[in-house]
């Protein structure tokens, strides 16, 4: 019967080309808008490191003075240098790393490439195993290099291409700022989306080009970038060890997510100790959020994108209402034929099924064209100058979702018209109007 109804639906389309085109276009527009915004939303709200996002945690402490404190307030979203170095030394997690952003000048040895300016990250050895960064050549540096302020660096694949033509550059030197650093590793293709480890840099931008041990970066006085918040007299040296400033990020990897409570207890204990020592003034007020919770807290999806998603759904809803009306018109126009079919033995259910098949077919056709419109829409998004523009691509899952939404939506739209159609009494008069 399904094949029969499909056949009848197609014939009906051929007979009512204008009306069918109108319905298909309406659904296509709605699907196109909806899928474009949904794809962008999905890309931006995805998990950047699914294999361990529930075991990676971001640490927040509250080192600020009592003055100005509001009860229940969230602590600062970065930590001080002293706290980061202390926690790192105490090594309570499986892996842990402190980090912050920077900008450096790179002067290639080859004279024909001009010196340029690029983003850097100053961090500690565990960064690479903790975030499971792939390496094309070499590895990250070791903990001993952190302690020794070693003159080493890890570079990105793009930088390696640009300066060394893509060869294995491990062991070569690269002048960062004034100082030559020895390359110990070249990263492979690594593009976490979003760049979750530092919410103060371009959240959907590319990974930094140069990674340097934090201690080395202080030694060489390399320029920092990112957010810094100071609350006291820094005496002109905000990056000093004892400066009353938060500007570092601290991540820890635990063996399994169940250990989070224990680690938080450790952080609370640490805060209490700092208070007893007179350095912290407030009661322990710590946070330990895993990757997705941290992204959520930072409202990672820009407001505009969420607004666009709702707009897309609203548009689809209007298109569906449209389709309901047009389907109703289409079916009721044929009430004479429906009456005859009922007289010839079609039960109400059969009429209902026939109408739904017709609605679903319109949905499938609309979904196909809507897919084309969505591809067009995503192309338009990629032309925008936003940081996430290049990520707007339709993948396999979204492709299937497009058709699924189109068919389900059109079936829903067809429910009311089909129900009305099935109420038509069996009649032996074909009203030819």
């Amino acid at each position: 019967m399904f094949g029969y109804y499909l056949n009848l639906a197609l014939r009906s389309f051929r007979r009512n080309k204008a009306l069918t085109a109108l319905m298909v276009l309406a659904i296509a527009l709605g699907i196109g808008a909806c899928m474009t915004t949904l794809t962008v939303f999905r890309v931006l709200s995805g998990d950047p490191i699914p294999e361990k996002s529930d075991r990676l945690f971001y640490v927040q402490l509250d080192p600020q003075p009592l003055r100005g404190m509001l009860p229940g307030e969230e602590p600062e979203d970065q930590v001080t240098r002293l706290d980061a170095e202390t926690l790192l030394r105490e090594k309570r997690g499986l892996h842990q790393a402190m980090m912050t952003g920077g900008s450096v000048t790179v002067t290639p040895e080859r004279g024909d490439i001009a010196p340029f300016y690029t983003d850097a990250r100053y961090t500690s050895a565990d960064f690479f195993p903790m975030f499971a960064t792939p390496f094309l050549h070499g590895t990250g540096w070791r903990a001993e290099d952190d302690d020794a302020n070693a003159r080493v660096a890890v570079i990105s694949r793009e930088l390696n291409e640009r300066v060394f033509g893509g060869q294995d550059s491990v062991g070569k030197t690269l002048a960062i700022g004034d100082t030559p650093l020895r390359i110990v590793g070249v990263l492979g293709n690594w593009q976490p989306t979003p760049k979750f480890y530092d919410m103060n840099q371009s959240r959907f931008g590319t990974v930094e080009d140069v990674f340097v041990p934090f201690s080395t970066s202080r030694d060489l006085k390399l320029g920092r970038s990112g957010k810094m918040n100071c609350w006291g007299d820094t005496g002109g040296d905000e990056t000093g060890l004892n400066a009353p400033c938060v500007w570092m990020q601290y991540w820890v990897e635990l063996e399994h997510s169940g250990q989070a409570a224990d680690y938080k207890a450790y952080l609370d204990n640490y805060s209490a100790q700092q208070k007893a020592a007179g350095r912290f003034e407030r009661e322990p007020n710590t946070r330990l959020r895993n990757v997705m919770a941290w992204l959520d807290y930072n409202r990672i999806v820009p407001n505009d994108v969420v607004m666009q998603l709702w707009l897309g759904f609203g548009f689809l809803l209007v298109c569906l209402l449209n389709t309901v009306g047009l389907l109703l018109a289409k079916f009721l126009r044929r009430s004479g034929e429906i009456g005859v079919r009922r007289a010839l033995g079609a039960s109400r259910l059969e009429v209902f099924k026939q109408c739904l098949v017709e609605a679903g077919t319109v949905g499938l056709a609309g979904g196909t064209i809507g897919l084309g419109l969505a591809l067009l829409g995503l192309w338009a998004v990629r032309q925008q100058p936003t940081s996430y523009a290049r990520l707007a691509h339709l993948d396999g899952t979204m492709l299937l979702t497009t058709f699924l939404i189109a068919v389900v939506a059109s079936l829903l739209a067809g429910l009311l018209p089909a129900w009305r159609a099935m109420q038509v009494t069996p009649a032996i008069q074909l009203k030819s109007q």
Binding site: A343, L344, G345, R348, T425, I428, Q429
Partner: protein, 242 residues
Amino acid sequence: MLDMRQVTKVYRTELVETHALRSLDLRVAEGEFVAVTGPSGSGKTTFLNIAGLLETFTRGEYVLDGVDVKGLNDNARSRLRNEKIGFIFQSFNLIPDLNLFDNCDVPLRYRRMPAAERRQRIEAALTRVGLGSRMKHYPAELSGGQQQRAAIARALAGSPRLLLADEPTGNLDSQMARSVMELLEEINAQGTTIVMVTHDPELAARAQRNVHIVDGIATDLSTGPALGRVPRPGHGAAAAGV
């Protein structure tokens, strides 16, 4: 075949009650050819609708080919209608989008018949009515008489036990009307029960038996063997002779 006892149909709206049929008694035996006559508004259309399971009735009993239709739900009635009854309408009622083959196909599809059997039955039915060469033609391409014959083929394709015809020659000229009536008589001769509603006395005379419905009550005017019930005195208007 068709056994109606005391069938009453009342249409109720907010303000008005209309009695379309009042305690109608009618029996049709298998193989009979019965003509049902009566003035407009008499209830013969309602009778046909009830006979064809297109409408329900308020009171009474109706047994169709041994099946009591009271209490059957919509699905069961549709199935019964599909398997046992063939309809022939005044305005043919062929579906204009479909060709003759597909038109005859419609009732067979609802019976979930396999494709081979459907094809065989349709071809046989269309050939029987003389339209075997026009299977792929659309109704708009045929004359009135041919369309009515196609409708008859559609009615026959499912091997119905009862054919219900509503003014089958109403839209045809006299020559086509005659050929259609000949076809009906032929079908009846082969054993199919036919109940035909008409206002044309000439046509009614060609049937074996006449039933006259006036004000919702049926009166037998059989010219052949009396198989219906004799009108009881005091039951409303007597019929005038034809």
